[in-house]
Symmetry: C2
Subunit: 209 residues, 2 copies
């Protein structure tokens, strides 16, 4: 996926059996949509007299959300780039000792690279959630429902990306490294989904009141 793909192209290639984009790219795009919704909330707050006292913070969050959005798009592309060398690895010969050693080493390197991209998507999702928590408190009341939608998209990015951590760490021979990555990812899932649910609950209560 690149920013210049049309939505139709992206959806059609995603739905096809083409190797990329897959769940990793979809998770990153969910993150980008969530960050864009956060950005919209800052833009609907900045310049309004009623919110003048939070204007400076709001401007910082807008910048951070723009940078996160770009990062998510970059990570969608990175997720495609780490896939090809990993897929190519599977067809390497595995006969002689030398071949075995080479294939094992390359597999391990590529599995690690393919795990680190979704880990980054998760880290960016955690950053985005923390900003959305602030926007839920301090953003324009007119846009509070968009904070709620944004939180759901970022939650999907986080819980989508962890799937791609698991499928890659699962095949790693270095079990210590694999467990370390899984534990780190699980901690983000736990903390992040709690935070997302709390923000969403607050928005929903406010809207229904």
């Amino acid at each position: 996926m690149t920013e210049l793909n049309t939505i139709q192209e992206f959806l059609e290639t995603l739905a096809s059996k083409a190797p990329v984009p897959g769940g990793g790219g979809a998770s990153a795009l969910a993150g980008a949509i969530g960050a864009a919704l956060g950005g919209m909330v800052t833009n609907l707050t900045i310049g309004k007299k009623r919110y003048a006292d939070v204007e400076e913070e709001m401007t910082d969050w807008r910048e951070q959300l723009e940078s996160l959005r770009r990062e998510f798009v970059r990570l969608a592309k990175a997720d495609e780039e780490v896939f090809a060398p990993l897929a190519a690895c599977y067809s390497l010969p595995y006969g002689t000792e030398e071949e075995k050693k080479t294939k094992d080493r390359l597999m391990e390197e590529n599995l690690l690279a393919a795990s680190l991209v979704p880990i980054s998507i998760m880290e960016k999702s955690m950053e985005a959630l923390e900003i959305l928590e602030e926007l839920c408190e301090k953003g324009s009341r007119m846009a509070v429902s968009d904070v709620g939608v944004g939180v759901q998209l970022i939650r999907a990015a986080l819980l989508g990306a962890v799937m791609n951590v698991y499928i890659n760490t699962k095949s790693m021979k270095d079990r210590k490294k694999a467990d370390e990555l899984n534990t780190y990812a699980d901690q983000m899932v736990e903390k992040g989904s709690c935070l997302a649910d709390a923000i969403y609950h607050k928005v929903r209560q406010g809207l229904k009141a």
Copy 2:
């Protein structure tokens, strides 16, 4: 949003203070991405000897998911189309009895139309979840993580769209109709998030085992 927008255009307009797209369009796009991921799972299953016994069902689900994807894109567009007349309503005069009557009637009609689009997004999300539940059981094991990501995207579509039901029903004068829509939406949220969480949990356990 149309299918022919580039991802960059969509994200930039979403992040801006332009009135559309907003949370409704973002929810619908999340649904389209989720349906596309489901479609990918069917395409990775169809034609494989190991899954020959589910080929017919798989082909049906592929068609249904394609149709859902198109519906979600159509609903993203519909969500923009119902916004303009609603926004225009707010600036109608409200002086004479006649003006009050006209404005009240138009507001009510437009609020209802703006509630029914996210209700449709939710209904389509429920349909998509039921297919993803089947894919979790019967789809290719190679693509099970993509079922997990798809479920998160559809869950985001469902829980994102309900925000736009609430903001519109909130201003409706016909409280009976408003409560009816809210209750229907709440039932979908409850049933859909339980189902999504159950499917996701199953996928996650399978991947970590």
